[in-house]
Structure formats: C-alpha cells, structure tokens
C-alpha cells in the first residue's frame, strides 16, 4: 500500500534558479534563504519518496489565456521545462507516473471535480525550483512526478475552500492506490508578494505567519477568506498560497505535525518560506 510520507512547501521565485545557477548560496543576501533547505534535504534523504504530487501554478509556459483550466492534472510519461522567455538554462526533465495520474484523475472526477487532463505538459520554474533546492547535486530527479496545476493567474480563481477539498480528494485517491510507492506532496509559490500595480512590493508577514501557524493544525482556518480578501492580505501573487492549501489537503484531513519552517524577507519581491510536515501527531519519545 502506498504511503504518504509528508509534505514539503516552498516559494518558487524565478530569481532562485538564477542564484543556484550562479552559485550564490553563501552570498549574504541569499544565505538566510538557502539555509532553510538542508533540513528538507535531510528529511527527504530519510523518507526517500519515489513519487511527488506537486500543486503549483503555471506562469505562461504550458497554458496561455486562450484556454485556462482551473485545475489541471498531468498524465504524461515525461515533463520537460522550456524557455520561459528569459533564455535561462533549462531545468531537468521529470519522469511521469501516468498510471498514478490516471488513478488520481479517475478518483477526482468520481468525486465531482471537473478537472482538465494533460497528456502533454511543459513545467516551469514553479515545479523545477522546489526540486533544485532540495536535490542540488542530482543528475536526474530521484522520483516520478504527478503535477497538478491550479489557476492562480486569471480571476475568478478557485476558492481556498475548493483547493483544500481538491487536495483532500487527492489524498483519498492516494490512499486507495494499490501501488507501494512512497509519496511526498508539495505545494509551491508564495508567500506574500505582489509584482504588479502601485502596491508592487507589498509583503505581509503577519498574514504569512497566520497561514504557516495554521497550515498543519487547522488548515480550514485558511479557507475562511474569499480570494479577494486573500489577495488583499497576501498580494496579487501571494494568492499562490492556494497551492500550499491544496497540498496540505493532500496530506490528509487529520492533524499534521510541522517538522521544519524557514521564513525570510525578502527574496526578490517575495516573502520566501519553506515548511515540512508529516501526517499525524508525533508523540515525543
């Protein structure tokens, strides 16, 4: 029987990819951010997941605005990165897990989520950077991928409540998957930031802290605001926290234990955050 080993959450700012490429991990600007990842690396080395189910948002690489799915599940044998417009070095490709993808798709539709399915899907920095951060020396990613894209770009966006429910439906699908994979769920993006408008540069540590404090113990607390109010509190791109909420749902309905947290302001225009959680309540030995 498959096991959900835990959840890893991280920001996915494009500038991180550039910093990795240039080897700036020890640079004073970057160090407090990169120092948040060795504990995640150690946790992954210990838990050894072989599949990642990743909730993220596309930034105009795979989806254009001619067709914009609210929820899209990848079902491809392979996922490639491509030029996102800046001519940066390409990220490594991922091996897919079509059988598990279709299992998730079948279960989600059975549970009345009207998703889009993608047998071809390019993946951008929002998917690759989280892996670059925790497998810095890998020649190939050590796990297969099931990507789930959430529209955080073009309003109306799905509500936080709906994203949490989507995640919980994915959890249900993972629990009834007959394989013996070890699965990590991931949510990428955020936390508070705003790139556009006169309020560009907006960051809200108090709201981010509310989200991080509640995500493990009471994720429903993050679903009480409308998307509009969440944008007010977290910024136009801070709404990417929807990916975190969905990933938390995929960890399961019960309580989870926070194992690690790092929060740093700023990376580029963003309040950058990293968290690791395991399902259940850990009892001290």
């Amino acid at each position: 029987m498959a096991e959900i080993v835990g959840a890893y959450f991280t920001s996915h700012v494009p500038a991180i990819g550039n910093a990795i490429h240039k080897g700036l991990q020890q640079d004073p600007y970057w160090k407090p951010f990169f120092d948040g990842y060795p504990p995640v690396q150690q946790w992954l080395a210990k838990t050894k997941p072989d599949v990642a189910v990743v909730f993220y948002n596309d930034h105009g690489l795979n989806f254009f605005l001619d067709k914009m799915p609210t929820f899209a599940v990848g079902a491809a044998p392979q996922y490639d990165n491509a030029d996102e417009g800046w001519g940066l070095p390409l990220f490594k490709s991922f091996e897919g897990h079509p059988a598990l993808s279709w299992h998730i798709i079948n279960n989600l539709v059975e549970d009345e989520f009207d998703i889009t399915t993608c047998q071809k899907m390019l993946v951008d920095h929002a998917l690759s950077i989280p892996f670059e951060l925790v497998y810095p020396d890998a020649d190939a990613w050590p796990m297969k991928l099931v990507p789930i894209a959430i529209n955080t770009v073009q309003h109306p966006l799905p509500s936080a409540k709906r994203c949490l429910a989507l995640g919980r439906a994915v959890n249900k699908a993972l629990r009834n998957w007959a394989g013996d994979e070890r699965i990590v769920v991931m949510g990428t993006g955020g936390l508070s930031h705003q790139l556009d408008g006169e309020r560009a540069g907006f960051i809200n540590a108090a709201y981010d802290t509310f989200c991080m404090d509640n995500l493990s113990v009471d994720p429903d607390a993050l679903t009480r605001d409308s998307v509009h109010e969440m944008v007010r509190k977290s910024g136009t791109q801070g709404i990417e926290v929807l990916n975190w909420i969905a990933a938390r749902g995929a960890l399961g309905e019960g309580p989870a234990t926070e194992l690690h947290r790092n929060y740093h302001i700023p990376i580029s225009n963003t309040a950058a955050a990293t968290m690791v959680m395991e399902p259940g309540v850990l009892v001290p030995a």
Binding site: G87, H155, P156, L195
Partner: protein, 128 residues
Amino acid sequence: MTTPTERPEPIPGTHLFDGEAAAKGFEINAMCYSFNDAANRQAFLDDEDGYCAKFKLTPPQRDAVAKRDVLGMIAAGGNIYYLAKLAGIFGLNVQDVGSMQTGLTVPEFKAMLLAQADQIKQLEKANG
C-alpha cells in the same frame, strides 16, 4: 461573503486580472507569450512596430509598450506574468518593474523590500 452582484471593496494599488482584463488584454498577452521563443524576442527587437502590428495590439497597448509604461500595459489588460517576459527583453527584472510602477528609484524599491524584514522582528516582539 459578497453576492454575485456586489463588488468587493477595491484593494488600493491593485488591479485584479479578471475576465474583463483578460478580454481587453488578449493581444498584448499573446505577444508576450510568444516571447517564450528566442527567435520571437529577436524579431521584436529587430522591428518593434512590425511585431506589435502582427499581434494586433490595441492603440492603448501599443502606446504603453512604446513608452515602456508598465501601469499603462496593466490598464490595457496586460498580465504581469506575461509582461515579465517583455521586461526580460529589455533586461529588466521584477525590482525594475516594481520601481517603474511605484515611482521609487530601483535602489529605493530594493531598500523598501529589504526594510520589510522588520515586519518579522515586530511580530517576534509582539509575541514576546
């Protein structure tokens, strides 16, 4: 919660990319999406007028692009994730784009971002 006919209170300095913006901005966003291809970025640099005409930019979109006016592009329906690809052609990053929208110089905008680290200290203080 608001009813469908009721519009929530606007967020100062914030322009939500909704259906109205997406419809209005289709052309400029389509042009920016094309910049995922290096050859298209070069074609824009070689003949900006011709390239904008090929994508049928509306007059407000063309004007804002000509003036490198980010707020004008957003008002004309541009979405920041797509506009970031255009900015990249000019070697501008999101701090440059932030500066252009806030009236701060780039060093001032970067300093404003760095200063927000104080929010963490204030929270720690408030929580003892």
